[in-house]
Each structure stands twice: as C-alpha cells, then as structure tokens.
C-alpha cells in the first residue's frame, strides 16, 4: 500500500486520535440513557463519529492522489511559542513592561529580518501604547511593573 495523499493520511490519523481519545476519557463518566443522558453520552457519540470520519479520510489517502504535506518551518513556530510561554510565566512577577520586551524580542527573531534598532523602536511604541490604552485607559488589571519595583512605579504613575 502506498500513501497517495499524505495530507489526508495525517489528517485522518489526527482525527482518529482525537475521536478515540475523547471516547476513552469519556469512559470515566456516567453514560446515562437516551432519555437521561449522562455526561459521557454526547462526547462518546461525537467521538465515535469523528473517529469513523477520520478512518474514511485515512482510507481515502491510499486511493486518491493529493499534494505532499508542506515542510514544517520550525524556527518561527518554536521562537514564537517560547516567547508567548515566557510572557505568560513572567507576567505576574515581572510585569508587562519587561514581558513585552521578551515577547517582542524573541518574536521578532522568528521573522526573516531582525533589525535591532527597528525592534527597539517598535517595542517602545507598543509598550507606551499598551500601558496608556489597556492599563490606564481601559483599566484592564494587567501587572505593568516588576513586583519589587511596585512602589517606585506607582510613584511615577505607571503602576496598577
């Protein structure tokens, strides 16, 4: 058997995995009856249908031709995900001003061109905009400053 449509092959596998996965986890919950459906009823049915459809897509990939899966470009993906996760981890202790630098710096590294001066200007503009609009203007409760500098920040009027 030769895989003729790699995109369908992998998509089919993905859907089977999700469908079966949802069904297996649903075994922990009560099934109930058709009259009084338990928490497992609907997800089990849906998961089953999803797995069947996944199987159909999977089977089709051996029958009809399709384009190959385009290459996964890992660099931008990895850098951007790492940047976002770091932003999430450090937002509470270090605040937006520091975290935005991490996010924008790493994020910009994921692009094709990195001009440090340009990134610095972009960062400065975005931080000023975000603090002015989101924190000051709309009052979203986002930590702006590192915890240990809180008092100083509040004194100069950019704290929460």
């Amino acid at each position: 058997m030769k895989i003729k449509a790699p995109k369908d092959f992998w998509a089919g596998l993905m859907f089977i995995a999700f469908g079966v996965g949802f069904m297996i986890v649903a075994r922990n919950y009560a099934m109930g009856t058709a009259v009084r459906m338990g928490p497992a009823y609907f997800p089990t049915v849906l998961g089953g249908i999803l797995a069947l459809i996944g199987l159909a897509i999977f089977a089709k990939s051996f029958a009809t031709n399709g384009p190959p899966v385009p290459r996964f470009v890992l660099r931008p993906m990895t850098l951007i995900i790492v940047a976002i996760v770091l932003f999430g981890v450090f937002l509470k202790p270090l605040g937006l001003i520091v975290c935005a630098a991490i996010l924008i710096g790493l994020g910009a590294l994921g692009g094709h061109e990195f001009k440090s001066k340009e990134v610095a200007i972009l960062y400065a503009a975005l931080v000023v905009f975000s603090v002015a609009v989101f924190v000051k203007g709309l009052g979203l409760p986002i930590p702006t400053c590192p915890l240990f500098l809180d008092d100083t920040c509040r004194r100069i009027g950019i704290g929460m």
């Binding site: 995109k7 369908d8 992998w10 998509a11 993905m14 999700f18 469908g19 949802f22 986890v25 649903a26 919950y29 009560a30 058709a34 009259v35 459906m37 338990g38 928490p39 609907f42 997800p43 849906l46 998961g47 999803l50 459809i53 996944g54 159909a56 897509i57 899966v69 385009p70 996964f72 470009v73 931008p76 993906m77 951007i80 995900i81 940047a83 976002i84 996760v85 932003f87 999430g88 937006l96 935005a100 996010l103 924008i104 994020g107 910009a108 994921g110 692009g111 094709h112 061109e113 340009e118 990134v119 972009l122 960062y123 975005l126 975000s130 989101f134 709309l138 979203l140 409760p141 986002i142």
Partner: protein, 501 residues
C-alpha cells in the same frame, strides 16, 4: 411591517448618540485598517478586542465589533486593487480585475466603484435585515429543543458545504470543535469533563483563547513560513470618481452583486467570503458583453465588492434572530453578547429592541462613514501598506497575549492559546480549515443541551427529529445539501468555483 419605521427611528435614536457614533467610527476605522493590512483579519481583531468590550455598554460594544467586520470589507478592496494581495480573504476576487485596472492607470475608478458599490449594497442590506429579521425571529420563538437541535445540524452542515476545501475534513473539524466545546463542567451532572484535574479547565476553554490561537497566532506562524514579497503599485491614482459611462455600465453588476450577496449572507455558512466568490462567478456568466473579465473589467470589481459588503451585513440575520452563528466572526459576536450577559436568540429583538435596532441603524451610519472616510483618506491607507509585516506581527502577538490574559486574568489561557496555535498550524499544513472548528466549538454545549431536552421530552425516542414537521424539514434540507455536494458533477463544479479565484 407597520412597525418598521418606528423601529428604525428607535434604532437611529440609539445609533446617533455621540457615544455610539464614536464607537461606530472607531469600529469602522479599525476595520478598514485591518482590512487594508494583509496578514490580520477581522476574526483575530475582534477576538483581541473582546476582553476590552467588557467595560463598554452592550450596544456600543456590538456596534463597534460589527463595524470592524464590514469596515474590513472596505479596506480589503484597497489592498486587493493596489497590491494584488487580498487584505481580507473576501477580496481575493477583487484583485483579479482590480489590480489589472490599477496597472492600466485606472486605480482611481476601481477604488471609487468599490466604495460606491459597497455603500449601495450596505444600504440595501440594512433594509433587508430590518425587513426579514422580525418575521424570522417570530418563527424562531416557536422553536423547541428538537427544532433547535435540527437547526444547528443544518447550520453546521451548511457551513461545511459552503466552505472551501475538502468537505469531509470540514465535517471532521466541526466534530472536533463540538468535542472541544464540551470540555468543562457538565451543567446537568456537575462532572468536570476532560479537565484532567486542572481547575482552570473545569470552566471550559475560553472561546477567545481558541479563536486567537487558531486565527491569530497560527496565522502569524504560517505567514512567517514564506519571505514576504509585496510590491505596492503606487502609480497615480487619479480621479476616484468613475466616469458617468462607467457608472451606468456598472449599475446592473452592483445590483446583481447586492442581491446575490444579501441572499448568501442569510444562509448559514454564508457571509462576505462566499458572497464575493459567487458574485464574481455569476458576473462572468451574466454580464453582457462578457469580453474583459480578468483583464481589468470594472464590473469585476463592482459586483464582488457590492456582494461582500451585503453578505457581511446580512449574515447578522441568523445571529440576531436564531442565535446561531453562520461564520467565525458571528461566532465571536455571540461570544461578545455572552460576555455582556445577553443570551443570543430570537428574544433579543423583543427584550432588547434598542440593542437590536440600534445595531442595525448603526450599520447604515457606519457605511456612510466609510464612504466619507475612505475616499479622501485613501492616501493614508496606501502609506500604511508600505509598513512591512515584520513591524506588524509583533504587535499582533502582544495584543493577543494581553487580550487573552485579561479575559480571566490568568496566564493559563496564554498557554492554552499556544496549544491551539500549534493545532491551527498543523491544520493549515494538512489543509483542514479552522473556521468550521470554531463554529462547532461555540455550538457544542448548546447542541448537547438541546439534544438532551429533546430526548427527555420524547422519552428517548430519536424518531422525534423526523416526525416533528419543522425539524424534519430542517434535517431534510441538511441531507439534500450534503447529497447535492457529494454528487460528482457538483463536486467538480464546487472545486472549480473556488479554484477560479
């Protein structure tokens, strides 16, 4: 019908208050901006702004978000005509003839007719909503859980049939969306499903989180796969007004586009994207003489631009009357309504007439603003086009992170967004459209709830879905739609229609 004028008067009373005018203006301006800029669309923008709308009064929030959607249709055409890139996916077909016109030195008239056509279509669509929404809502008020369940099945099927790409994969994405929507505490039994002991998951995954991950971040990553190449064609734009001859030449096209767009917008699964594709295809068949399409025929700009604007607006009808989203933007509008504590559905019109009619009236006001704004400001939008993507995407990244964090003030949502970004990227690579997943995600809990109630009422007899007349008709239409699309000849046509662009 007799209530139409007082209703519209009520609506304009709401829409013309200074505060709402301001938010309408903000919405259409922002919409035009993101419409002009390739690489960011209305879905990501509205998702980013959802948390912000917390602080606004409901009417103002919805007026602004709606403005972003139809404003983006205006902005998208500018980019399509001048850069041969769709600033917004609905303007893909506009680029075909619009860019050719620009190369021939007729960028001005192309931009002009796009604006005029859009304005005309916007006015008509406003009236269409005002006329059709009330009777539809009245019908919907009679719906029980059985009918609602069948309606959602129809809506989801229609959304996959009318989406482009593989039908079977779209259905799989809907199912995956439905399943992901079930994560969280089950309202009937109180069991925290699929939470794996993580307390944040027992509240379910935030809708904004999914939308931003799959449409915001995943799109950035996909865009960074390729080096950007963008050549702005900044030749003389010249007079923006088409000549009188061209205008008369375009009248039938604008009319055809408006009618088709309004009709397709109402359908579940419809909206601006479908409307513009269909209008261009129809125009090539219907326009006489047909000669010039693809080589700078002004009718090839007029028809799809009218259609996408009409479709963008009439797609609010299923949302406002049935509470069912027809495309991802409408799904986000449901999210916005829920944030404000409004349950979307037919009762919105009777219980909150000022919200309903205010929003409709604001669409007309917003369209007027767009014409007045955009024609003189065109120079500014062109300047914006020269901003490279590398300056743009870090801003999107930051706004997505801030937005997703501020929904619940927890970093957990930021991590979830990353997971959906990866899923979205994989889906792009495997040619699975993310839009059906979002629709499924928002409808998942509602579908389960209605299915449960329907089965409880029928004492577990599933045949009730086929014996109740309205439900049977809805399911019948869904089945017919599926069969039609799977018929080999139609299947080929459908693929061609989407490929032509």
């Amino acid at each position: 019908m007799e209530g139409l004028l007082p209703n519209l008067a009520l609506g304009f009373g709401v829409a013309l208050t200074p505060l709402n005018l301001l938010y309408c203006f903000g919405g259409v301006l922002l919409g035009t901006l993101i419409g002009v800029l390739p690489g960011i669309g209305p879905v990501a923008t509205i998702a980013m702004l959802l948390p912000v709308t917390f602080t606004l009064p409901p009417v103002s929030a919805l007026i602004m978000l709606a403005g972003i959607y139809y404003g983006a249709q205006y902005g998208g055409s500018t980019t399509a005509i001048l850069v041969n890139l769709p600033g917004e996916s609905a303007s893909v077909v506009t680029a075909l003839d619009g860019y050719k016109m620009a190369r021939q030195g007729r960028a001005g008239p192309a931009l002009g007719i796009a604006a005029i056509g859009s304005f005309f279509a916007g006015c008509v669509a406003t009236v269409v909503i005002a006329l059709f929404a009330p009777p539809l809502a009245e019908v919907a008020l009679k719906f029980g859980p059985t009918e609602y369940f069948s309606l959602m099945v129809l809506g989801l099927i229609a959304a996959t049939v009318l989406a482009h790409g593989s039908l079977i994969k779209a259905i799989a994405m809907v199912l995956l969306g439905l399943l992901l929507g079930l994560i969280g505490t089950d309202v009937n039994s109180g069991v925290a499903r699929y939470s794996f002991g993580i307390s944040e998951l027992s509240d379910g995954i935030g809708f904004v989180t999914v939308a931003m991950g799959m449409f915001g971040i995943a799109e950035i990553v996909a865009n960074l796969d390729h080096k950007e190449k963008r050549a702005v064609f900044v030749a003389k734009i010249g007079s923006l007004l088409p000549s009188r001859k061209e205008l008369i030449y375009c009248i039938p096209s604008v009319l055809r586009g408006t009618v088709l767009g309004s009709a397709l917008g109402i359908l579940p699964g419809g909206g601006a994207l479908l409307a513009s594709f269909a209008a261009y295809t129809l125009e090539k068949k219907a326009a006489k003489p047909p000669r010039n399409f693809g080589n700078g025929d002004i009718r090839g700009v007029a028809a799809p631009e009218s259609a996408n604007n009409a479709g963008a607006q009439t797609s609010f009808i299923p949302l406002l009357t049935l509470g069912i989203p027809s495309n991802p933007v409408m799904a986000l509008m449901i999210g916005a309504m829920m944030i404000q504590g409004i349950a979307p559905g037919p009762q919105v019109m009777t219980e909150r007439p000022q919200l309903f009619w205010g929003m409709i009236a604001s669409m007309w006001v917003g369209n007027l603003m767009l014409v007045v704004l955009n024609l003189p400001l065109i120079g500014m939008w062109i300047k914006l086009l020269t901003v490279p993507y590398r300056m743009l995407y870090p801003a999107i990244l930051l706004f997505c992170c801030i937005g997703v964090y501020s929904v619940n003030n927890t970093s957990f949502d930021i991590y979830m967004m990353c997971i959906f970004a990866v899923l979205g990227y994989v889906c792009v690579k495997l040619e699975c459209e993310p839009a059906p997943l979002i629709l499924g995600f928002i409808l998942g809990p509602m579908m389960e709830e209605n299915l449960r109630r329907a089965m409880l009422l029928s004492r577990g007899d599933p045949s009730v879905f086929f014996t109740k007349p309205i439900s049977a008709v809805l399911l019948g239409i869904a089945l017919i739609l599926l069969l039609i699309v799977m018929a080999p000849s139609v299947k080929k046509k459908r693929e061609e229609a989407f490929l032509e662009a």
